[in-house]
């Protein structure tokens, strides 16, 4: 009986030592978790999550201050990926932070623009070209659709336009699965 206990204890101690050694010697020097979370986030920099940008939100998630379901532009897909990465359970998107909208870009009505530069200062990716008292225009390619330029504009000349589906960005759809529909 004593012999059995001693054997089990020594095996446990041995395995513990091996694991401890491995955790120190074989530690992976991979990306810090914040960078990996940031890689999943869509980089819209819209602030809908409650943080001023995607990197601060990633930091908050890593510190446990924020939940993973606060990013509407990332959509359900993004929440799933974050859940997989962090090993937590998936939660549906928190509606308090907004809902997922189709991708759109901002466009300035040039006849109304007064050249106040307030939108230029607001854009998180510097996608607006212009200067004081000069025409402002949005570089389509760089616009992330974050909508941060809409509130500051004093004459409300910016509107969001959905990106239309053309033969360039058309995608094949998921084949429908008739077998269950049939029932």
């Amino acid at each position: 009986m004593i012999a059995a206990i001693l054997i089990i204890l020594s095996i446990t101690a041995f395995i513990g030592l091996v694991l401890g050694y491995a955790s120190i010697k074989l530690k992976t020097d991979g990306d810090p978790i914040i960078d990996r979370i940031d890689k999943i986030l869509p980089q819209t920099q819209c602030g809908q999550c409650g943080y001023p940008g995607c990197k601060p939100y990633a930091t908050a998630i890593a510190n446990g201050e924020a939940d993973i379901n606060q990013c509407p532009p990332g959509g359900d897909d993004g929440v799933h990926k974050l859940a997989d990465l962090l090993g937590v359970e998936y939660k549906p998107l928190n509606a308090e932070h907004g809902e997922t909208k189709p991708k759109s870009i901002a466009i300035i009505d040039e006849s109304t623009c007064i050249g106040c530069t307030l939108c230029i200062q607001a854009c998180p990716v510097d996608a607006i070209i212009g200067a004081a008292k000069q025409m402002h225009t949005i570089v389509e390619k760089e616009c992330t659709g974050c909508e941060l330029c809409l509130p500051p504009c004093p004459v409300d000349c910016i509107e969001m336009v959905e990106i239309p589906e053309t033969t360039d960005n058309w995608k094949w759809k998921y084949p429908i699965h008739p077998i269950k529909q049939q029932h």
Binding site: L41, C54, V125, K173, H177, P178
Partner: protein, 503 residues
């Protein structure tokens, strides 16, 4: 690359019924010039070319309508003489049914050619030739529509393989072209070999085209550097990489290109167009279309680009509201609208027969019978691709299971006993993966810009603080007093001026 007489056999493939004889009974037909030509501006893989004409302008046959832009792009020409009546979004033959920019020309019936200078090959360097070829409008007329001048821009090609396989059932346009335009075809091959200094050419042709083989053998009896290899009729021997393997025993994966091995593959129609371009300076303004299937008079037509397809279908004895597939029954797609016009990619219009209309689109569960593995010409594991695509787990597909080596030939779906639309799943998965790659590239750029912006704001703040600190440090106490007194004096003067003004 050593040339042997041996014909290799690729793994997999299927042998469906060819249905070729129904459309090869009569010679190629030419219809009268249609009243309207609706020519899509972009009919190739790559960027939209620059439109060079405007509404109301009169154009001649063969006149360039749109010039290629840098990188992958090709030209578009007018197929007949007439007036441009519209440049607007119109229906095009595309599986999505989405419209695209088209130039509509009202023909004047005169069919007047533009005067093009003859190309004197002896006096042009290869760079100059390349520039000239850019404006030929020649793209891969087998259906891939990749701009041909880019494929010809290499001096490392040692073997030219002519894709005369035409492996898909029902399609016979290349077969008829080889029978009726044998001389032009061989001229096309010879001139291509001449320009690029390619020493050998092999014509790969399936054994279900005896008449064409006969004619080619006779015409090439004296030729030393063009040979013919007849391969057994297996679908898809006409796929570029499968054909290279059949001819030369060389296996090329998706990661490499044939040109890296000194090989280039061209379709029959593309070579005929190259011949016409170099000998007669004619750009691509027409193509041979097989109109076949559930029609009264299936036939091949030499149609002008931009011809409304309803004219062809009507002449072939079909009805206007039939379901039409563009392409063959294996790789073609059902046209969402049939009021579209002939484009460079349209090699066949197939009126759907009853057995093509799927009565039971039941997708039963996969029973892992691996019939799909037995027929996949790319030696993939279609069932693994299916499970990952279906459950939307895209991570392993590209690297581990090589999804992008799939040529979407349809052999797997053809044999699946559970009726699973395998090719649709792969197309969906490829779309999603490409989209994800694009999104992550865009996201990376956005992240960089955002980081730079934060850095810039920090930098500006620092610079401002430094400037202020410098200014403050520079002026000593005495100077400060002096500054203050000067400022007071300036203010007093300004006040006086205002008072005087008010008086």
């Amino acid at each position: 690359m050593e040339l042997t007489d041996k014909i290799f056999k690729f793994f997999g493939g299927i042998k469906p019924n060819g249905h070729k004889s129904i459309s090869t009974m009569n010679p190629i037909k030419r219809l009268p010039i249609p009243k309207k030509l609706i020519i899509p501006v972009r009919q190739h893989v790559g960027k939209v070319p620059n439109i060079k004409v405007s509404v109301g302008e009169r154009v001649l046959k063969g006149q360039i309508l749109a010039e290629p832009v840098a990188n992958i792009s090709a030209a578009t020409h007018s197929s007949s003489s007439g007036t441009v009546i519209a440049i607007e979004s119109n229906k095009i033959p595309h599986p999505s049914g989405l419209p695209d920019l088209c130039i509509t020309i009202e023909t004047d019936g005169k069919d007047e050619w533009i005067k093009n200078d003859k190309i004197d090959r002896s006096r042009l360097s290869s760079e100059a030739l390349y520039e000239v070829m850019k404006f030929s409008g020649i793209v891969g007329l087998g259906g891939a529509t990749f701009p041909t001048h880019i494929k010809l821009n290499s001096n490392k090609i040692k073997t030219l393989i002519v894709n005369a396989a035409e492996c898909e059932p029902y399609i016979t346009c290349d077969d008829m072209a080889m029978q009726e335009k044998t001389k032009e075809f061989i001229e096309g091959i010879q001139i291509t070999m001449d320009i690029l200094k390619i020493p050998h050419a092999i014509i790969g042709i399936e054994d279900n085209k005896p008449k064409a083989i006969e004619k080619l053998k006779i015409s090439l009896s004296g030729s030393k550097n063009i040979s013919i290899k007849v391969v057994p009729t297996i679908y898809p021997s006409g796929d570029e990489k499968r054909l290279i393997y059949l001819m030369l025993g060389l296996k090329i994966s998706k990661e490499k290109r044939p040109v890296d091995f000194g090989i280039q593959v061209f379709n029959v129609a593309t070579l005929i167009s190259l011949g016409r371009f170099f000998y007669h300076s004619e750009p691509v303004i027409s193509r041979i279309v097989t109109v076949t299937g559930a029609l009264k008079r299936p036939n091949n037509y030499e149609a002008l680009i931009g011809t409304p397809i309803q004219e062809l279908i009507k002449d072939a004895g079909g009805s206007p509201n039939q379901d039409i597939i563009m392409g063959g029954p294996m790789m073609g797609f059902k046209l969402p609208h049939t009021d579209v016009s002939v484009t460079k990619a349209m090699n066949c219009l197939l009126a759907m027969t009853d057995d093509m209309k799927s009565k039971d689109t039941f997708e039963m569960p996969c029973i892992r019978c691996t019939k799909c593995v037995e027929v996949c010409p790319a030696q993939l594991q279609p069932q693994e691709l299916y499970w990952h695509a279906k459950s939307k787990q895209f991570e392993k597909l590209t690297e581990d299971y090589k999804l992008f080596d799939c040529i979407e030939c349809g052999c797997c779906s053809y044999v699946c006993p559970s009726n699973i639309p395998l090719v649709q799943y792969y197309r969906y998965a490829k779309s999603e993966i490409r989209d994800q790659l694009k999104s992550s590239e865009v996201a990376d750029i956005a992240r960089e810009r955002n980081e730079f912006r934060l850095y810039r704001i920090e930098r500006e703040k620092k610079e401002r603080a430094e400037r202020n600190a410098q200014r403050r440090a520079q002026t000593s106490d005495i100077d400060k007093k002096k500054l203050i007194e000067e400022k007071k004096a300036a203010i007093a003067e300004a006040m006086k001026r205002i008072e005087e003004k008010e008086k």
